[in-house]
């Protein structure tokens, strides 16, 4: 550390490299934080956590008892001098008693990506609500056709303010915050949708994962979905610039491996199924009628997981997508080619009847997967298990990585929100007592 600082002073390494190395080291040495504690305001399992994108300061949590709370991750509310622990209590809480609060479990919470003035929550009581975080009142609400499992807003959107919602219903609804109405209904999944995520590179691309195991890509400007991920369509590791993913030699020769052709054949078959029962027609003879590309892919039946897709997470650069499924596998997808990168993240245990939240460090080297009562940290590019974070007493539902402090927050069915931090934390450098007082006025007159 000191040598690197000296090197930076001498100009032999760049400041950005120093920062990168420090982040890398810190994110790889996570353990249960000794000096920081979040006092959970929830009386039931924590289902969803998110740190706001604007300041990376406020942590939003939604729990199974219908409560939502906001915590300040930077400034502790009080300090326990005997145990030297800075306690972070909820700044504000919404629960069932609050006017228009959620009646049943809150499955998903999401900050408004631009600032911390608003947040969105989705609940099993079928409502998606938009809250003013200062007044703690509902600004807008949408009644959905079934339990809401996931809500998502695009972090890069500049031309729309759409909330994508995954529900029990097979269709994905997009709610427009500006008009208070549903703008899109995306149909293609054959079962409920537990996980969805907007692309980090294009504001128009939405990725959804259904209970039938399919992951679909939608361009919301066009009808239908444009890509269905197939776990058997593979490339090896990171795609190099020369696009060196392995072509299925046999597959490409007759065009079978190409997804669009494949599903087009499938659809032509669907239409002519009745004919098959009497006599089998030659597919060469069956002239394919021209269809909208979105519609043909929509009938594709490829699966990304055997079992529900419980979680989706795109990397910050938007090139890759992590997905987790009830087949207890985590997969890494190349978003551009739509291929499975074949990186095997060991044995995870993914259970439960709702979505999970994966998380990864911003330098893109570690992936955190809630697996039963532990959190496993995997090396993204090799799939090796780097560390196991043990601390929760019950099923872990979600984890969220703080991009600036290199801290991990995790929520579990044991009602706790745990903080995982590198051993020599930033907050230890300052006296935590003064840190608490720093927020108060200090006028002399």
């Amino acid at each position: 550390m000191w040598r690197e600082l000296r090197q930076r002073e001498a100009g032999s390494i760049r400041p950005s490299l120093l920062a990168k190395h420090a982040c890398y080291r810190r994110s790889r040495s996570l353990q249960l934080a000794k000096r920081k504690e979040i006092v959970s305001a929830h009386k039931s399992g924590v289902n969803s956590l998110q740190i706001d994108a604007a300041e990376s300061r406020y942590l939003l949590a939604g729990a199974s008892d219908g409560s939502i709370a906001i915590y300040d991750t930077q400034q502790a509310t009080h300090f326990d001098p005997s145990s030297q622990i800075a306690k972070h209590e909820a700044l504000s809480t919404i629960d069932r008693r609050t006017n228009e609060g959620h009646e049943y479990a809150v499955s998903s919470v999401h900050w408004y990506p631009i600032d911390t003035g608003l947040f969105v929550s989705g609940s099993f009581d079928r409502y998606v609500k938009i809250w003013d975080s200062n007044l703690l009142q509902v600004e807008l609400q949408f009644k959905m056709p079934g339990k809401v499992y996931a809500v998502a807003m695009s972090a890069v959107a500049s031309a729309h303010m759409l909330i994508a919602t995954g529900t029990e219903d097979v269709r994905v609804h997009l709610c427009d915050m500006a008009s208070g109405a549903f703008t899109h209904t995306l149909s293609g999944h054959r079962d409920g949708v537990w996980a969805l995520q907007w692309s980090a590179s294009s504001e128009w691309v939405l990725v959804t994962g259904g209970c039938e195991g399919a992951i679909r890509f939608w361009d919301i400007r066009r009808a239908g979905c444009f890509l269905v991920l197939d776990q058997h369509r593979t490339q090896i590791g990171q795609r190099s610039k020369s696009a060196s993913f392995i072509h299925d030699q046999a597959g490409t020769s007759n065009g079978m491996n190409h997804m669009e052709t494949n599903s087009e054949r499938g659809s032509s078959f669907l239409r002519k199924r009745t004919a098959h029962h009497t006599s089998i027609r030659r597919p060469e003879a069956a002239k394919l009628s021209r269809q909208h590309p979105g519609l043909t892919v929509a009938q594709g039946v490829a699966t990304a997981h055997y079992g529900s897709v419980t979680s989706l997470q795109t990397t910050y650069d938007g090139f890759y997508l992590f997905s987790a499924g009830l087949d207890s596998r985590v997969r890494l997808w190349d978003m551009e080619s739509g291929c499975n990168t074949l990186i095997n993240y060991g044995t995870t245990r993914i259970a439960g009847k709702k979505g999970l939240q994966l998380s990864f460090s911003p330098d893109g080297s570690l992936l955190f997967v809630p697996s039963d009562t532990i959190i496993q940290a995997y090396d993204v590019w090799t799939g090796n298990l780097h560390a196991t974070l043990k601390g929760h007493y019950d099923l872990v539902n979600c984890c969220s990585f703080h991009p600036l402090d290199q801290e991990l927050y995790s929520g579990s069915n044991d009602r706790q929100i745990l903080v995982w931090a590198p051993p020599g934390g930033t907050s230890e450098d300052l006296d935590p007592q003064t840190q608490v007082q720093a927020d108060e006025d200090n006028w002399s007159d």
């Binding site: 046999a250 020769s253 078959f269 006599s279 089998i280 074949l342 095997n344 060991g346």
Partner: protein, 277 residues
């Protein structure tokens, strides 16, 4: 297994070279007295290279009396001997695309795949053909030849859509529904439940083995969960054996190790297997 025996000098070389990557071997070498047990030390020395491991495990495939199935290996068993799972996946994918192995989805679990060397599969295919010939005569069983030349050689995936199957088969001759029924009856294809238009490829006569597999897994896990410390010495367990499975203890332990349901703990007295989690 003529291919494996001819390879055996290279096998030994590869084993030496790849010693560092071997999970089980390192600890085995520290405990020389283990070789006295009925599980031979040699059996656990599985090299890191996927193909070598695959061939070795094929050689160690349990000898079964009633069923005539060529040796196959579960993907989870490969994970049990090779630490780097990503490499296994990538190498398997490469072999699959080259056509040296066939991969089959099994219905015993959500993430179960069986891997069979192509030669063994072809042998199995041939015996299935003979069996069907004795029942249905020479004429309809021509479809097996079409299947072999047109489908197996071109499609290396785990599943095939109905239309693709018909298209590939029809290169051999006029295809009728009864031909496809014959393939299904012979156990070469299985209908997918989720999607009626697609078939899984399958190993003929594999049913009894799959039954053994699921029941043996269940028995082993149940047995461990009933023990006070959820653990048992491997040698002790081998003496006891499994009642519901004919596949042998080693087969199951490798499978469960790879799927992460049990751990192996090395201690001075021997290998201890312990329930995970």
């Amino acid at each position: 297994m003529s291919s494996a025996s001819s390879d055996s000098p290279t096998l030994h070389l590869a084993k030496r070279k790849l010693r560092d990557d071997i999970v089980l071997e390192e600890d085995n070498s520290k405990r020389p007295h283990r070789s006295g047990n009925n599980l031979q030390l040699e059996e656990w020395n599985v090299p890191a290279d996927t193909m070598v491991a695959l061939r070795l495990m094929c050689d160690q495939f349990p000898k079964l009396e009633k069923v005539t199935v060529q040796p196959f290996v579960l993907r989870s068993q490969l994970y049990s001997s090779i630490k780097d799972r990503t490499t296994v996946d990538q190498e398997l994918e490469a072999f699959r695309k080259q056509g040296t192995i066939r991969v089959f989805k099994l219905n015993t679990g959500q993430d179960d795949f069986a891997i069979m060397l192509l030669d063994n599969y072809l042998f199995q295919l041939e015996s299935a053909k003979k069996r069907m010939e004795s029942k249905h005569g020479q004429d309809p069983t021509l479809v097996f030849d079409w299947f072999l030349t047109n489908v197996i050689n071109t499609n290396t995936q785990v599943s095939i859509t109905h239309s693709e199957l018909v298209m590939l088969l029809s290169k051999g001759g006029p295809v009728a529904d009864k031909h496809i029924s014959l393939l299904i009856n012979a156990g070469l294809l299985v209908r997918q439940l989720a999607d009626e238009t697609t078939y899984w490829f399958s190993i003929p006569n594999v049913g009894p083995i799959l039954k053994s597999l699921t029941q043996g897994r269940k028995e082993l896990l149940y047995f461990l969960s009933r023990r006070r410390y959820k653990e048992i010495f491997l040698s002790q367990f081998e003496k006891r054996g499994l009642r519901t499975s004919s596949l042998g203890v080693q087969f199951h332990i490798r499978d469960l190790l790879g799927s992460g349901k049990i751990h192996v703990v090395h201690n001075p007295i021997g290998l201890l297997i312990r329930l995970a989690g």
